[in-house]
């Protein structure tokens, strides 16, 4: 994807939650910064800025990534899914509904990252074991819940999604 340097900034064309998005960014800015500070998509959070907490998780070209560790210019030509794109006009994603019903959030700041990560898991493995859920989500830190209700919510959502499939 061609990019153009404009007064020290790079013109990046990308697709976010299914819509084409153009932005100008300094090459040193991370994808997380662009999402939050330029595009107003503040659902992804900065918890560590070095890939250890997962609060900034987005999916880029089908892969779960920490958007704090992706340079914004790397998003050129990519397709990005953020927490803002998880619910549909028809309603919440089963994971979102399950998080609510299972009380799988407390402060909620890690929740977008967990939901994005769990969605990526269930797309790859619709019937995970508790261990597989815990293994997959080990890249996401939650300090409030002790993980119990999050793990139950993901297993519950997986069951609902299999029933609907």
């Amino acid at each position: 994807m061609a990019t153009e340097i404009l007064s020290g900034k790079v013109h990046v064309q990308t697709t976010i939650n299914g819509e084409q998005v153009d932005f100008l960014a300094e090459p040193r800015e991370s994808l997380l910064e662009v999402l939050r500070d330029h595009l107003g998509l503040t659902g992804a959070k900065e918890g560590c800025n070095n890939g250890n907490c997962g609060a900034c998780n987005v999916v880029m070209d089908g892969a779960l990534v920490n958007s704090c560790c992706v340079l914004s210019v790397e998003a050129a030509g990519a397709s990005i899914e953020t927490i803002e794109g998880v619910a549909s006009p028809e309603g919440l994603h089963p994971l979102q509904q399950s998080f609510l019903e299972n009380a799988a959030l407390q402060c909620g700041v890690c929740t977008p990252g967990f939901i994005v990560a769990a969605k990526a898991l269930l797309e790859e493995n619709p019937n995970p074991t508790e261990y597989e859920v815990r293994w997959w989500l080990a890249g996401n830190l939650c300090r409030c819940t002790g993980y119990d209700k999050i793990v139950r919510a993901v297993l519950d959502a997986a069951e609902r999604m299999r029933a609907e499939a």
Partner: protein, 765 residues
């Protein structure tokens, strides 16, 4: 494993039945939090805003010889640089509000921007405002600071020595007898608590166990970093958006630190991404305000994770000694404890609370506890969930376990025999009201885990441990303003920031009292201009105190509705009865909704309100059981199974009571097994990242089984006890006692990290 959606067991010691309380509605703020729409502090961006960053000390202890910011100020895009010279001199003012009022404002001010000296690695020295965060970061590198490096003092036992370097030259010990020390000292305060005759108590004992314990510094580890955005208008009005545990506390601190009238300060509480005691004080808010004042622009500041770990308020490391005497038949005769906690770079650790908790689960004829608040070259420490209690009760519950082993008494039986109960003494507090330690212990004894023998495996070292925990809970002040809308719904304004579902636990109490569905209540966390005084979300107080304010506000609204209906129905207001949400008199009746419609036609819009400062918070007990496996080769301890039992008084919102219990357990397990600040000899923090300061992940813990016990608190209309803090107290001792059961080792330092356990195993062999 199949999904387990069972509702966790609840053991009721009362006959009350409620319509709303005890149910499991979806929390009111849930939708925004699962869609990413909820607005946390860092999610705000104002037109024309600048970005601020803080320059931090590379030294643990040094005099600041000079600061030259001229190169930074000359950088394109830099608008202002501030140092402590830009802050007003606080004089001898003392702090008000927050969790620890009564400390000199000068210390808080100097902690925010160093005055003359830096007291720890990461101490703020200067702050800049620039067009974007990257330019601000570049500018920090262009500020030239000349330091005269001094010897650091890192541990309390070193800092208390008479020849230790004194960190604060004009600090004199506040002694327990009310006198003041004569020489400058790192010991800011000494305290003494005494009940009965301990010498006589120990003389009566058949067995005395006397052990010492040490602790690393741990951080609360909230996932959201500190942030603040300020807009100082030209007429002096200051607007601040932040994620703090208490907007009113931040407002008070801004007034104290900036010497600015409180009426001109407006603090907007944004959603908060965890706090656990670490977000009860201002770090960035005053800096953002000053930078905004100087530049005429809004200024946004956010810490990075290294800043958070280096320079906010972790909870103390330190030292605890516990000595207990018992008779051969297992009755405690005396307890003695000595606690010395890191205050960090300025006075004010949580050692006093630790002192008062150390023997709290037990009734004993005599006890003596000494405490020391010690300044060291580490960040100024703060509260962390049941502050001080975890250290103290790790020590005492380990000693209790050793006593039980030595006397061959069942640890449950021992605790039941010696348990504190209603009417027994508490240190520096009135005697206990009705409490639930015995009921928790019985529930633990009867739990599935305790009743199931530990599964052994060939060649594996496995063990089981049990421990009790106590935390006071706190009342403080809370306010609620509830407006009846014309459709019978209620908009409920409260001042308590909601860190884990308290909008709903408060709304549930309001709904119960007024007799309406909880879905008809819309709870809003309001800013400091829009609701009455409300202290921090801390001390496990929100469901207790703000819930009480909601109950009182609902009663106020009930009275106003009755008065309105009395005029319409031409009866006396006190002739109107209220039951199950229906007002009745003289054969007429109206639901809340019908009443709202009737009153609207009369131009009557009831507003129920209440501000309350309750003092009968009741106290909270927990009993935890841990099964562990110790890897002999690596020293790694794995949690195999875990049960947490807790007296919630009455659990208003059970899924979130369970959530507090489970979250507290996992924080406690992290503290027990892994988390610790690592310093080099010069006082540099070596693990200021979430890779190296490693908190438990989902893979490190099992599901946490919960049992809620309900022994109602007589000091609350619905029997509420705070639930947020006590679940962090028992885990380190429960795990340590399990490690002993598995290996025969008594671990005396937290964390019981793999290298320490491995070394202890090697020494044992």
């Amino acid at each position: 494993m199949a999904i387990d959606t069972r509702v966790a067991p609840k053991i009721k010691h009362h006959d009350e039945e409620y319509k709303v309380i005890g149910t499991r509605p979806i929390r009111h703020d849930g939708l925004e939090k699962v869609t990413g729409e909820a607005r946390y502090g860092s999610d705000i961006n104002l037109p024309g805003q600048l970005h601020g960053k803080v320059l931090r000390s590379p030294h643990a202890h040094a005099r600041i010889v000079s600061i030259d910011a001229s190169r930074a100020e000359a950088l394109d895009g830099v608008s202002a640089v501030i140092t402590s010279a830009d802050l007003p001199d606080p004089g001898d003012k003392l702090t008000t509000g927050g969790e620890a009022p009564g400390l000199p404002v000068k210390f808080k001010s100097a902690n925010m921007l160093a005055r003359g000296k830096v007291h720890y690695h990461g101490h703020a020295v200067a702050a800049v405002a620039a067009a974007n965060p990257h330019i601000a970061a570049e500018a920090l590198k262009l500020i030239d600071v000349e330091y005269e490096v001094l010897d650091p003092v890192l541990e309390v036992w070193d800092a208390m020595k008479p020849d230790a370097p004194v960190i604060i030259e004009d600090l004199y010990t506040a002694k327990a007898d009310g006198t003041t020390g004569e020489e400058p000292s790192n010991v800011a305060a000494e305290m003494l608590y005494e009940v009965g005759d301990v010498d006589a108590g120990f003389a009566e004992a058949d067995l005395v166990v006397d052990r010492e314990f040490t602790f690393g510094v741990v951080h609360q580890g909230y996932i959201e970093t500190h942030n603040a955005t300020a807009n100082w208008l030209k007429d002096g009005h200051l607007h601040v958006w932040c994620s703090s545990q208490g907007a009113f506390t931040i407002r008070q601190e801004l007034a104290d630190l900036l010497n600015h009238p409180i009426t001109k300060i407006h603090v907007v509480p944004m959603e908060i991404g965890g706090g656990f005691g670490g977000k009860t004080t201002a770090y960035l808010e005053p800096l953002a305000a000053l930078l905004s004042q100087q530049t005429g622009h809004p200024v946004k500041m956010a810490m990075d994770r290294a800043d958070v770990l280096k320079a906010t308020g972790p909870t103390p490391g330190g030292y605890v000694r516990v000595k207990m005497g018992v008779t051969n038949d297992g009755m405690i005769t005396a307890g003695y404890a000595n606690l010395a906690f890191d205050a960090g770079g300025y006075p004010g650790s949580v050692v006093g609370a630790g002192c008062r908790c150390v023997f709290a689960p037990y009734n004993m004829p005599s006890a003596k506890v000494e405490g020391f608040d010690v300044v060291v070259n580490k960040p100024k420490t703060h509260a962390y969930r049941a502050p001080g209690a975890t250290h103290a009760e790790f020590a005492s519950e380990t000693v209790v376990d050793e006593i039980c082993r030595t006397l061959d008494i069942d640890p449950v039986e021992f605790r039941l025999k010696n348990s504190a109960k209603e009417g027994d003494w508490q240190l520096a507090q009135p005697p206990y009201p009705r409490i639930g330690h015995i009921e928790c212990m019985e529930a633990a004894r009867d739990s599935a885990q305790w009743q199931t023998p530990l599964e052994t495996a060939p060649g594996k070292k496995r063990g089981r441990g049990i421990a009790s925990g106590f935390w006071f809970n706190i009342g403080f002040t809370s306010s609620v303003i509830a407006k009846l809308n014309s459709d019978g719904s209620v908009t409920l304004l409260e001042g308590s920031t909601d860190i884990g579902g308290t909008r709903t636990s408060v709304a549930m109490q309001f709904a119960e009292t007024l007799g309406i569905p909880v879905e008809d209540v819309d709870p809003i966390v309001a800013d400091t201009d829009s609701v009455g005084q409300t202290d921090v979300t801390g001390g496990s107080r929100v469901t207790f105190a703000t819930g009480l304010a909601a109950h009182n506000a609902a009663n106020d609204m009930k009275d106003q509705i009755a008065e309105g209906l009395a005029d319409l129905w031409d009866v006396a207001a006190d002739a109107i009865t209220h039951a199950d949400g229906t007002f009745s008199a003289n054969g007429k009746s109206a639901s809340v909704r019908e009443a709202a419609e009737l009153l609207e036609e009369e131009g009557v819009f009831p507003i129920g309100k209440n501000t309350v400062t309750p003092t009968r918070e009741g106290g909270a007990f927990a009993v935890h059981i841990a099964d562990v496996e110790v890897d002999e080769e690596t020293g790694k301890v794995e949690i195999l199974r875990y049960t947490a039992v807790q007296d919630a008084g009455v659990a208003i919102y059970p899924p979130y009571v369970e959530g507090q219990m489970q979250g507290g357990v996992v924080q406690g397990v992290g503290w027990a097994l892994n988390e610790e600040y690592v310093y080099d000899d010069d006082g540099h923090l070596l693990n200021a990242s979430l890779l190296d300061y490693r908190m438990p992940t989902a893979l490190d813990v099992p599901n946490i089984e919960t049992i809620i016990v309900e022994v109602p608190n007589p000091g609350h209309p619905y029997g509420v006890r705070g639930v947020g803090e006590v679940p962090i107290v028992p885990p380190p001792a429960a795990v340590a006692n399990a490690i002993h059961d598995a290996t025969g080792l008594r671990m005396s330092h937290l964390p019981m990290s793999p290298p320490r356990v491995q070394a202890a195993l090697a020494a044992q062999a």
